[in-house]
Symmetry: C2
Subunit: 405 residues, 2 copies
Amino acid sequence: RIDGTRLLNRIKRLGAVGALPDGGVCRLALTDEDRTGRDLLVIWMRELGLEVSIDAIGNIWGVRAGIEDGPPVMVGSHVDSVATGGLYDGVLGVMTGLEIAAALDDAGTRTRKPFAVAAFTNEEGARFAPDMMGSGVHQGALDLSEMLATVGIDGAVLGDELRRIGYAGDIAPRSLVPAAFLELHVEQGPVLEREGVRIGAVTGVQGISWTEFTVSGQSNHAGTTPMAMRHDAGLVAARIAVEARAIASDFGPPQVATVGLVEVEPGLVNVVPQTARMTVDLRNTDNERLKAAEARLREAAARFAAEEGCAVTARSLARFDPVAFDPTLVDRVENAARQRQLGVRRMPSGAGHDAQMFAPNCPTAMVFVPSVGGLSHNINEHTEPHDLVAGAEVLLDVVLDLLGE
Amino acid sequence: RIDGTRLLNRIKRLGAVGALPDGGVCRLALTDEDRTGRDLLVIWMRELGLEVSIDAIGNIWGVRAGIEDGPPVMVGSHVDSVATGGLYDGVLGVMTGLEIAAALDDAGTRTRKPFAVAAFTNEEGARFAPDMMGSGVHQGALDLSEMLATVGIDGAVLGDELRRIGYAGDIAPRSLVPAAFLELHVEQGPVLEREGVRIGAVTGVQGISWTEFTVSGQSNHAGTTPMAMRHDAGLVAARIAVEARAIASDFGPPQVATVGLVEVEPGLVNVVPQTARMTVDLRNTDNERLKAAEARLREAAARFAAEEGCAVTARSLARFDPVAFDPTLVDRVENAARQRQLGVRRMPSGAGHDAQMFAPNCPTAMVFVPSVGGLSHNINEHTEPHDLVAGAEVLLDVVLDLLGE
Ligand SMILES: NC(=O)NCCC(=O)O
Ligand SMILES: NC(=O)NCCC(=O)O
């Protein structure tokens, strides 16, 4: 009942918004590109007769009425991207929601429960931290006014940008707890491809910890300043980056550690850096291990700074505990895949997802489809069309079951 | 015969050009601020009746005629600065040249040889590499057309900027070899202050090696990409920075190593960096040791890149062998200081200077005065006024001696 051509066509049209010359997209949250993507989504929702709502953090959802009133079964994800993102990350989940609504219309089905399709603001956290911001506010895990005050990597204030692009809605956070929440997403990792399995039944999401370190030293002359007299903020940042990798090695999988950003000032070849700013992303499925990694990193940062006569401050940009999805719903995903003769495995998610913000409040699960080469947050991120459609079909089956007839 | 007030006043007026709110200056080569500084200098040269010349790389010099024709005794330095520079770096040497011309006028002195005051383009190398560019072209060590094609840190092309600010002169390089070259400069290091000595008789300049490393990896997701599958360009850059420091430690003084710049792309918290660009500044008074440091760094960079499955390229931005000044002229500096009852010591220079480009072609020497706290390339760079004047007096004595009556 999924119309693969129609689904892929919508994905393609959204992929043209913020398209990069060499492929992929740049549709950072609350930029002009994000606005255009949102506008397209709202037009499509209205075309499908969905009743569109926009809340105070800019989340968009469209509801298809059911025979009964009450909370809808919700399918959602996001349409923002990182600066060098792929075409399916987030978009697949939202477009599949639209496709399910269209498929219900095609079949003339009136479901018992209402059905909702949602796109959440700033899932990526690439322009404004933390990630999963819209879904976090929607479900009450993040504070609305704090999030509206967030300053982006370009200095913009989130609340201003939301108004600027016309998506500062008036619905309050925590206004809706769905009957169930489901998200279809590309895996963004190598597991499914490596094992030749087409569907992942996601059991939960690992814990995420983002920290920004700011190191203050003293700028000085690269030629005349004896090594012993230096207060090199850049060196401290480099040592923190090397330590982050050592933590991942010493802890072993599933611990991962990434330094995605480092900036030094004044940034001149013959000047010892005065300041350095960097981010460290630590993740682990085990919260106690994650806490141990965070502690080791902060201690090391303080030690490196002290050894160099620098000061260092650490600021948490995002901190989410590991999340477990609803085992019964995960079973349903697994069974739906089996019934369609698709290879399936249970697996945790390495990436954060909007679904994790719903998990504490309602039955929640996710469906993964393979990412070619495990590539993600890269313009060459890719999933084969037949896998995209297979994922949508599994999601449809689970959703239909939950909606009731 | 030096008028300290007049000298300090000119330094102060030039220091207002590109002044930063918290002190210090930003007068990067060939910016609007550099133009204004040059304009002021040319006005002052003309007021003193000097005959002003501008060459094809934008060097400016003014000549005071002597009784005899022939090559002048030249005093020179630079008026460009780093982005967070001090008030005396370079400016002291040029302004002292003007002050000597003024002092000669005051005394109504006609010297045997002509006297010249010069300001050389882009000594700092902060916006365009290499450093000592103007003096290097002037003395034929650097190629004019290659230098005009240099691309700056802001993407500007040097030749365009030179025309834009109106300082693309028509005099060819190598048009003038002075009878002797002298430069007064702030030490920019801690040696004179630490030893309580007011004058440095500079014996030469250490070798300078600037390399830009560009690392290419693969952007990927910070949460889903197993550590073993990463090609993290930022990690390779961090390891190179840590290795540069280790080279300085292992080689010991006078080897120094500085990573002044590091940039990662796309520079997002949850994306493994795709590319990293960084600079390494290595210096040593011994050219063989410097070569060994360069070799170890390049080997390490290649090894780190290979271990991470990244590619790395190295590009030389500047490479100057160590330079020895004229021992007889260094003696004269030392004697002049002694005669004025000023504590003096012979010392090598840690920083590059325009004088080093003259040393192969004519008798050359430098005079250093102390830098408070050894601070340089920092807005708080400072030299006490009485030291500035003492340095000018020593320079005057040596110059008078060379000019002959
Ligand atoms: N799915 C996804 O890429 N989310 C962005 C948040 C993160 O995991 O870094
Ligand atoms: N004197 C000075 O700071 N020159 C700039 C070139 C260098 O880095 O040494």
